[in-house]
Subunit: 235 residues, 2 copies
């Protein structure tokens, strides 16, 4: 139980809640180990739970009537999903599949709903988080019009963990390239061509899930001239 | 003053507030008549006010360093914008321009902030509204991958005011076609070609800002087979 409360309190969404509110929302929480490929719920299912990723990766996606899949998001440790379905009589607006085996904690939306109507802090935290996500989506929509495929890949790189290693900068990709291609809404062959062009244009080196670069300037000026924000942006 | 409170209480965001809260948030409200082309604020300006459209149209947009404009939204009567900047030390994440002359009411974000921290109803209303907007954006992102330009135009048509007139169905466009093209993120020539294809494929007729169709079925099956939701959807 303490373990669940710890995981919750590490999620930015719940970080500022009092121990008593954390207790209330986690009293019916259940951690479950899931294997890659497991479907947690399908778009249109009645929404009864929301979830926190303790480990592994979750893919949120939608499918058109004629079978085309679009990835809404790929979530890692500490991310919460399904919580915006807290209002009455909702159904999930996407499907959720385990993209990399891990532990997912499920929590009843009804407990969150009670807390939401009793404690303004939760409502304000959720509003902040939803507003930030909305801005990210609006930026993504902008990039679909203003950036080419190579720039969109490089933009994803720039937003991910950067470390200094000897004389190089290293970016670690959180998950594999085919999932990344799908997340960016690209066909595998478009993604491969765009990645090749990116390497040629900016001199980055890719080894497995690590991207090496000599300076940030070359990559950031390559990407951010086609964005309305300046580097470094807030995500 | 009563006029301002009426406008506020007609906005879905504020519809469920008590008269006392409505009074609190509107005590420093100012209606202003603006001409087409007037810039209300620029992306990056410190956010001190939020706004309600009483009449006319507002275009929210962003511009990249190299000058490409992306339209975030075009808003009409009853729409509120800038309210998500209620948290401290924010700057506007887009620019706002009057797209059609009208009256815009400006209200201080500080009054909304006070009300937000004192009254859970506002936080919950704003959370509902922001969540709905987030879902719309996620659907738009899906459509950028799954729908062609003709389908995206038709999707916009289907989501706008539909009336029955003699034996036909009529859809009234809320604003002119060039603004619509920009709102959909299309170049004018792409938009014109896609509109021509749409007319040919579905038999719709366009006269000025009115679209005439014989049945909804043909248009909805043309559009919604490339969407993960069924017709009629919630926006």
């Amino acid at each position: 139980m303490d373990d669940i409360i710890n995981t919750l309190s590490e999620a930015p969404l719940f970080a500022t809640l009092t121990p008593s509110v954390l207790n209330d929302i986690s009293k019916n929480a259940h951690p479950n180990a899931h294997k890659k490929g497991k479907i947690l719920f399908i778009h249109g299912d009645p929404a009864e739970h929301y979830y926190i990723v303790k480990s592994g990766h979750i893919k949120l996606f939608r499918e058109t009537v004629d079978g085309t899949q679009t990835i809404i998001d790929v979530l890692s440790q500490g991310n919460v999903f399904g919580h915006t379905l807290v209002f009455e009589e909702n159904t999930y607006p996407y499907s959720a599949e385990i993209a990399e085996s891990g532990i997912i904690i499920s929590l009843p939306l009804s407990d969150l709903r009670d807390a939401l109507y009793n404690d303004n802090t939760i409502a304000i935290n959720m509003l902040r988080a939803t507003t930030n996500r909305l801005r990210l989506r609006e930026k993504e929509l902008e990039h679909r019009s203003t950036q080419n495929a190579s720039q969109r890949i490089a933009c994803f790189f720039l937003r991910h963990t950067l470390q200094r290693k000897n004389d190089s900068l290293v970016i670690h990709l959180p998950y594999d390239k085919m999932l990344l291609a799908a997340h960016l809404g690209m066909q595998p062959e478009t993604f491969s061509r765009a990645l090749l062009k990116l390497k040629k244009d900016t001199g980055i080196r890719i080894e497995g899930s690590s991207i090496y670069l000599n300076t940030l300037d070359r990559l950031s000026s390559y990407v951010c001239s086609s964005c309305s924000e300046r580097f470094p942006c807030n995500g």
